[in-house]
Subunit: 195 residues, 2 copies
DNA sequence: GTCTATACCCAGATAGAC
DNA sequence: GTCTATCTGGGTATAGAC
């Protein structure tokens, strides 16, 4: 089999299994079985189990950060920018389902691996994009100033990064739809003003 | 040492370590070290590692469910009831920090243990209390009916059950304060209506 | 009730034949 | 590049002395 293809296979199967169990509970042999080779063969592609994990998160973080950079460059008004950031979060969560799961669930462990791989700064860029968007929203008066911006940011994070647990996008429910719903709940609120 | 006290110690230290790493990544020997005994001694109190985990979650779920039952019995109006449910969630998250962490982070694994311990029904009661509160809010017109109630519920869950990651209560920031903030964001929204 | 010692297993990783 | 076989360490759990 083509080396690049096999490497891809190893990463994809690993991501699926890591997402189900924890990293520690997943064995090299289980990954090898899922790929259809013997465990020793994996070591021709990656030097260790951690290296597989690091590579998975590297791909994910780099793509996510790149999309956020492109968006920030468009300089949308704060609330529109927040909705676009939310869409990016949901889309990458779906595309990198396994990586997202381990990145959020085993954050401490992953952070260590990312620091070792010199990627901590890249990983923090998206956080900064959110912080700035919210701060600008408060500054220009479109957002209330009586709720701590950091609290709002953390609330949005928790909703966005765990949405894949209960939401599956389809033809009539896109990630952009859910992003719009989330932002309307956070911005407009659930109170019924119609009556 | 008093047996009950030692048992308590084992549970408390286990919860702390499980919260840091995953359950699979925590060893019996690490728990024994933290307690200050040899690993063999733990087996005088619990038959297995899983038994420790199950007991931790049992205490947590039973207390949480009891509090929700008491609240539901008070029959508050929907939005007030949601705020009270939020306070309960935040308070128990803080009091059972380790149990909350593993319950949310290793939900699949925990669910298996709870089914084996015949506690799955108890674990689902709080979910039902939330569902009913939201449904009544929509029915009596206090909440918008153009956002899927289930989506709202999942969003609230993600915020509430992960709040302990970034929030620490103190004299001037209580859990009731954060519950009020979370509910006002979800109900009133972040849009600035003052200007 | 706790310690010492250890059985037993399975993990990650390696070496060499093919 | 993959398989077979295996090393080595560390995991859960147990047994018996104290």
């Amino acid at each position: 089999m083509d080396p690049q293809e096999r490497r891809r296979q190893i990463l994809d199967r690993s991501a699926e299994i890591f997402a189900e169990k924890s990293i520690a509970a997943t064995t090299i042999r289980q990954i090898a079985d899922a790929v259809g080779v013997y465990s020793g063969a994996l070591y021709h592609y990656f030097p260790s189990k951690d290296a597989i994990v690091t590579e998975l998160i590297r791909e994910y973080i780099e793509d996510l950060t790149a999309r956020c950079r492109d968006l920030v460059a468009r300089s949308l008004p704060p609330i529109e920018r927040m909705e676009a950031l939310a869409t990016i979060a949901l889309e990458t969560s779906a595309e990198y389902h396994g990586a997202t799961a381990i990145w959020r669930r085993e954050h401490h462990y992953m952070r260590k691996l990312l620091i070792a791989a010199d990627m901590a700064d890249t990983a923090d860029e998206m956080e900064e994009a959110w912080r700035v968007a919210i701060a600008e929203g408060v500054a220009d008066g479109s957002l209330r100033d009586d709720v701590d911006p950091h609290t709002l940011q953390e609330m949005l994070y928790d909703v966005l990064w765990h949405a894949s647990r209960w939401y599956t996008a389809g033809p009539e429910h896109t990630h952009a739809d859910l992003a719009a719903t989330i932002v309307t709940v956070f911005v407009d609120g659930m109170r019924n003003r119609a009556r």
